[in-house]
Symmetry: C2
Subunit: 349 residues, 2 copies
DNA sequence: TTGAAAGCGCTACCAT
DNA sequence: ATGGTAGCGCTTTCAA
């Protein structure tokens, strides 16, 4: 059933029916009710293509997920983030168009998204340091917001990010307070913007306390379980081995834990571990795991929020929405704390 | 730039330009080349709304992700699956429309997706036992495929699933072969179809070997770290505690491991653990983790494949594509194996 | 091999 | 408060 047929059923013009359905004020309440009821009864809903053509808006938002086909895996928090965004879109009548883009002609891709009118705006995921996409999108003129930030980018843009630097600054300080002096940083790929910021937070905490920075204690890789495992093994085999690990992701932390327990060491006793993760969903109701989260209210909330920002930006193209910096929260668990045996070791060193 | 303007630039009719761009055979090669070049030069791409309206096809595929707002989290493998599907769509010119649907009027939602012409087909995620969505979609007439299966559904439908039953049958047998007689099953939510099948595999392995089934050893919950932890703790505190754990997800397994090591027990020594996970991405290059994967070639491949099935179904609506059952692969690690101390314990029992 | 024109279903402007 | 109608940009049929 289309608009014309529906209007004929009702003995009204298509104009009136359209107005009634779209909430225009100049329709009498009686007519509106009749129309709405008839539409429901006939399972009528407006054809999306026709609407796009007539209005010039697609009522769709694009999410672009860069993914080198080579080896990179999808960050699991991405799913939660997008679920949050989806909630916002459902409320506002937008569709969510997800594009997985792998090594292809990126510029052409973004440009096409714009010229084809597939989406009214974009969410950029996984920003790198000095990410070229930002200048490009700015130039194209399609409204966009960034999930995360990109250092060393000239142009203005709206973003929503975790305060990664501060989170790792505080986590490092926390370990320093416990007496640790050799802290290994198990970080993500070095060209990712978030990894850089975490590294900077770690370094500045050491500097501020006058603790020597040892580049051998820092590693940057894709965050797999095996990466955590191998890295921890390597560190633990050295003479001046670290007494603490600061791990950038829960997945890598599983490996770190495995390496520790394989050697017969005990967490919070022989070794301290602080895990950072963007979301605590998997750890709900767990009081005693050493976790340092960055998103107070969960990644899902963050997704919601960023989606709202974008819808805002589409509505007011001249007034870009205020960027958002989410602060970290430290949740300390038993096994992070200073166990007596560990204390002795640290006090001697 | 639109088609009309482009055609004027070239001194051709819109018809010819359209034909040239869409690969119709009746255009001379010379003309086609001219047109394609001009289109590229002017950054022309056809307006999606207009095309939808004219052709009646949206060139978009919907992925529906059910998510009760209450507490449920997003399965992280979902991200990888959808990344795989996205690759297929990118090749075939389809857009991927992701709908997060939470407790809303589902029937109306699916129907609208169809009548509005937003998508040409659907992928159904997270099927439950006797999932009502399948009959509904069948009735609506929109092509769809299911990621997973749904038991107790009358109608025919196309699906791609892991052989969950067989995977858990084999995993259980593996533990039985090691001598275990009390094996705890840490499973997912009981109304999920995959959880049911895994449970059935576990049970039939016990039955076949004449090992008593103890319902107290089976738990069904949402798979968080804490669930694994609490469940393992509870089990390990009993007198006739299990000697092995069969865990349905890597996340819950982290908790199980934690509980084990907290009690000073050693994996593969005092306790055996077999983990099932749909994907090994996080464990790449790890030879010695006890994992039982179900998807040989990774979830991403599975996503690709299911997307191809759906595109097929859209092309041949009368010939539904063959469903696919993926077989499991057992990867055994050190810590699963029969350690001497454990052997003794088992031999005595 | 090319072109003219109808029409997809809707919105929005202009009348009334 | 309601209706007539042009037009959004494309595909597709028919004609040449």
């Amino acid at each position: 059933m289309n608009l014309k047929e529906l209007s004929e059923t009702l003995g009204l013009s298509p104009t009136t029916v359209s107005r009634a359905l779209n909430g225009y004020p100049e329709v009498s309440e009686r007519t509106r009710r009749r129309v709405v009821e008839a539409a429901a009864a006939h399972n009528y809903s407006p054809n999306s293509g026709a609407r796009r053509l007539a209005t010039g808006r697609s009522m769709a938002i694009g999410h672009v997920l860069p993914l080198s086909t080579q080896h990179e895996m999808v960050n699991p928090i991405f799913a939660d983030f997008i679920a949050g965004a989806g909630e916002t879109y459902a409320k506002s009548g937008y569709d969510l168009v997800l594009s997985v883009i792998s090594d292809r002609d990126e510029e052409g891709f973004y440009r096409e998204l714009s010229t084809r009118g597939t989406v009214d705006g974009l969410v950029v995921h996984g920003p790198r340091i000095a990410d070229p996409r930002i200048a490009m999108l700015n130039q194209i003129g399609l409204p966009f917001v960034v999930h995360g930030r990109s250092s060393e980018v000239e142009v203005e843009y709206s973003w929503l990010d975790i305060n990664n630097r501060r989170a790792f600054f505080r986590a490092t300080n926390f370990l320093l307070d416990l007496g640790h002096r050799r802290i290994a940083l198990v970080n993500g790929l070095s060209d990712m913007d978030f990894a850089r910021r975490r590294y900077l937070g770690y370094r500045s905490a050491l500097e501020e306390r006058g603790v020597a920075f040892d580049p051998k204690l820092v590693s940057h890789e894709e965050m797999t379980e095996n990466y955590g495992y191998e890295t921890a093994r390597r560190h633990l085999a050295t003479v001046d081995r670290p007494t603490a690990f600061l791990v950038s992701s829960i997945i890598a932390a599983i490996g770190v834990r495995r390496a520790i327990s394989e050697l017969g060491l005990k967490m919070g006793h022989d070794i301290s571990v602080v895990i950072h993760d963007d979301d605590l969903s998997y750890f709900r109701n767990t009081g005693d795991v050493p976790i340092f989260t960055s998103v107070r209210s969960s990644v899902r909330q963050a997704g919601k929020r960023l989606a709202e920002m974008l819808i805002d930006a589409i509505g007011n193209p001249d007034q870009p929405p205020q960027s958002v910096l989410l602060e970290a929260e430290l949740t300390v668990g038993q096994s992070t704390g200073p166990a007596p045996a560990m204390r002795r070791v640290l006090e001697q060193g």
